[in-house]
Amino acid sequence: MRWATLAWMLATAPAIADDILASAPSELSVTVYRAPFRASGSIDLDSLGGFALISEVRTVHLPAGLSRLRFEGVADGIEQASDIVTGLPPGVIEKNREGKLLSPSALMAAAVGKPVTLLRTNKITGKQQRSDGTLLSDAEGGVVFQTSEGIEALRCSGLAETFNFAGVGGLAAKPTLSVLVRSAEASTRTVTLSYLARNFDWAADYIATLSGDGKSMDLGAWVTLANGNGVGFPSARTQVVAGRVNRENGEVEPLDAGGPILAECWPRGSTSDTAAPAYLQFAGRAESDDRMFKRSVAAAPAAQAITVTATRNVQQEQLGDLKLYRIPSRTTVASRQSKQVRLMDRAHIPIARVYGADLAADQSTPPAPAHLLLRTVNSAANHLGLPLPSGRIAVFASRGEERLLLHESGIQDRAVDEEVEFDLGDSPDVQVTVVNEKTTGPARAQVHAIRVDITNARPADINFELRLQMRAGGRVVGADHPVTIKNGRPIFRLAVPGNGTVTVRYQTVPAG
């Protein structure tokens, strides 16, 4: 065996570069971006589709000559292609990320063709028997090894067997970033590492409270941000960015976190149908079940803590064509945590309640509930006038001391001075019925006489908007109420009295 050991030592010539470990981050910055595909709505803690830019300041002591600088503890969702390292001497040769992680199967694969020590333990006496050998194969989950006695397969004998691996190294527990650098002289440097990492997200969560008379509302909002990574960022400067940024579906760097060793053997059929005794069970199978269980526990949302920090508002600034919100003091973005910070609080915002319906202009439709919107303009005169990032809005109304939820809906990015509409859902008290009373004319030039009944079972007068969808080139003629055009579509603006009905009649004529 001496020969083989010697050969092994020669084959793994000493690494040419010394490994240098960068210090733990002394300064952290996390900027969270929203999921690019989500135009409105809040985040989903189970699948965080956004990402974050993470910057870490670390200290390294570089010796003169070639060294391999290793950064440990980076986020598991790191996109290696995006990383930037600044502060190193000019001789950066390459940056690497190892995708082959330390696992039982990786250990086994690394040991193929190399000497290992087989350990057999007597289950009764506890006595161990050691024999030196060579690992021949780990192909397709089966393990074959050779000792001086001959060739055997691992864990097919029913004995307690395992290997001692010696000298198998170079496998990291987590994806680790390393930089190969040649330095002219020994120096201590402050290095900044920046990278994009997946599995983060944020959204704005608005809470609107309607006043008693329904003519104004108070609007408050939280920034809700979440980190789904297994790495936390203590005492980090934290920002979120609003606006949609382009993301290309870049290739994902290969990663092998290892599979279980199944120790597959030869066919095990026996002359009996009874269950095999416990020590015949696959050792690897039990392990793999356990592994799945662990993974599901790790992903369980129950483990996620929700932290509400003190109500100090975020500070907004312009970042190119995006909006950056800075969380005023350093905060810890812990692993698998969602966090809320106050975005804004505004009171007495005048609102208009508008009922409405979108209808095909020339078809009968059975009674359908009207849609209720709250409409305002995002202006300083309305006590707003600040960018409203997309998210979810919950509308509440007061009932004495209590607050009751009326409706929840999504809201898109709204710039200053834009019209803002909050959906309040359908109102069964206001129903719209369309009747095509008469159709005349030849097939391609039909004229429809339409009657629309709007019924209001509420005690108060309401504003109603009837928007019509026309066929190309069609027109509305002979209407008995004033009709205007909004966004290229005919619209009737009506006041429907409390407990009353309004009937609108018009005719549609086709193009040309």
Partner: protein
């Protein structure tokens, strides 16, 4: 040479057949193309015995295309090449032992005492049936521990797929031989980092080559050459995706006509790595190839409206950054395909990510216009105001475009109306358009600071 011999002895322990080619004087060169394809040239000293002999290569890529492998050395002739992918597993070992003798060792579970017997393997169908002396037995039918010891590993069974070449050597002696083959599983692309400075309208661009290896083996100390290009591969090669999704924007505004100093091979550009590198399996490696500072870049806005596109709510315009790759006031290099990530400094001077865009292979001297995302404050609402029929296939469409700008400075939006198929004319417009192509009309609309602008156009279409 003593070291090399020892290694050969070490490997012979587990594969007895053939001569493993495992020379210490090994040089590997890897040429990597963009399209998941690499040419590996593996040069090493091989001991030629003279006469017929099999040479095994165990450390070739696990995804090797064996039909492309070729071995070249002086004074040898190739008889045949084999690629064995019958893997050494316990089940195969037992299967190949059918009709042969094996040694079984019964272990007393209480005392650990061992009893050795010779057994003939009769069958391995769903269970192992043995003949021991006159008795026929099912292996481990009683569940008690039994070790099975085989004398040797059958030929052709290996831990990894193995390429073997049978040669007839001329004179005996050690001489260099080069094995070359194509393999998928190695690929590269470029990744760019662009830091845009808003105050002076300039970008700093760094370019990195990103190399990934999922071919199953590690290439130690390899001379690496990257080729910007994708050679045509026919059936049997790596899978190619012939369908390309709709391309929403053209990033290359003006194709360049300049030549740089980069090495070329045919019409491909070559990017050799300065020193040999170890490309580990499942490793992602990045090497710098471009570092340019202070290139003028233009920041603009663009809005594309499809034919008869109309929206109830305003839609964000795209944020566009454009710059040149010319030697004069540009990056001064051709750019291999990849992803360009834009950063900008925030109020505290920290670089923040503002979006990314894919670029294709770009010749030197080109103008690139890249979209990083949507502008929060610059929006456009396109509305079809009216459609009137002029004749059977003749329509008049009145379009209105409302632009708004919540930024404290005026902006210019490049407004593009697409889908003007056939004989489409603009009969009236509130601002002069340019016809970028028969299909697309373009307006440059200036929107005042914190203000609005409006544009109307009447299209006459005959289809």
């Amino acid at each position: 040479m003593g070291g090399a011999r020892l290694i050969v002895v070490g490997c012979m322990l587990y594969v007895s057949a053939g001569v493993p080619a495992n020379g210490a004087d090994r040089t590997v060169s890897v040429t990597i193309y963009n399209d998941d394809l690499a040419l590996v040239q593996d040069r090493r000293d091989i001991e030629i015995k003279g006469g017929r002999q099999r040479i095994e290569f165990q450390d070739v890529s696990a995804q090797i295309r064996p039909e492309t492998a070729s071995l070249a050395a002086s004074d040898i002739s190739i008889v045949e090449q084999n690629f064995d992918f019958d893997l050494l597993t316990p089940a195969k070992l037992m299967e190949k032992a059918v009709g042969q003798e094996i040694t079984i060792v019964r272990v007393n579970p209480a005392t650990g005492a061992e009893t050795r017997e010779q057994a003939l393997v009769l069958a391995t169908n769903a269970g192992v049936v043995l003949k021991i002396g006159p008795r026929v037995e099912v292996l481990r039918d009683d569940g008690l521990p039994v070790r099975v010891i085989f004398d040797k590993v059958p030929d052709n069974l290996r831990a990894r797929p193995t390429l073997s070449v049978t040669v007839i050597g001329g004179h005996a002696g050690t001489r260099p031989a080069t094995l070359s083959y194509l393999t998928p599983g190695l690929g590269w692309r470029a990744d760019y980092v662009a830091l845009y400075s808003e105050s002076d309208g300039k970008i700093d661009v760094q370019g990195w080559v990103t190399l990934t290896n999922s071919s199953g083996v590690t290439y130690d100390h390899a001379h690496t050459l990257l080729v910007a290009g994708s050679p045509t591969q026919v059936d049997g090669g790596a899978q190619r995706n012939y369908y390309r999704g709709p391309q929403p924007r053209t990033t290359l505004q003006q194709a360049g006509t300049e030549s740089g100093s980069r090495e070329r091979l045919g019409d491909y550009y070559l990017y050799p790595l300065a020193e040999p590198t170890t490309i580990a399996n499942l490793q992602t490696k990045q090497v710098s190839f471009l570092d340019v500072h202070g290139v003028p870049a233009e920041h603009g806005y663009e809005f594309h409206n499809r034919w008869l596109g109309t929206s109830e709510t305003p839609q964000s315009a795209k944020t566009i950054y454009s710059f040149s790759t010319s030697a004069h006031a540009g990056l001064g290099d051709q750019l291999p395909a990849g992803i360009l990530r834009f950063y900008m400094r925030d109020k505290h001077g920290e670089p923040q990510f503002i979006g990314e865009s894919r670029i294709d292979h770009t010749p030197m001297g080109s103008t690139l216009s890249l979209s990083t995302g949507d502008a929060f404050d610059v929006k456009v609402r396109a509305v079809v105001d009216k459609r009137t029929r002029q004749g059977n296939f003749d329509w008049q469409s009145d379009m209105r475009y409302e632009l708004s700008n919540a930024l404290p400075r005026p902006v210019t939006v490049k407004l593009l109306q697409e889908g003007l198929w056939g004989d489409s004319r603009i009969t009236a417009e509130s601002q002069k358009s340019t016809r970028r192509s028969a299909d697309t009309a373009e307006w440059a609309v200036t929107v005042p600071a914190n203000g609005k602008a409006s544009l109307t156009a009447t299209f006459e279409t005959r289809f």
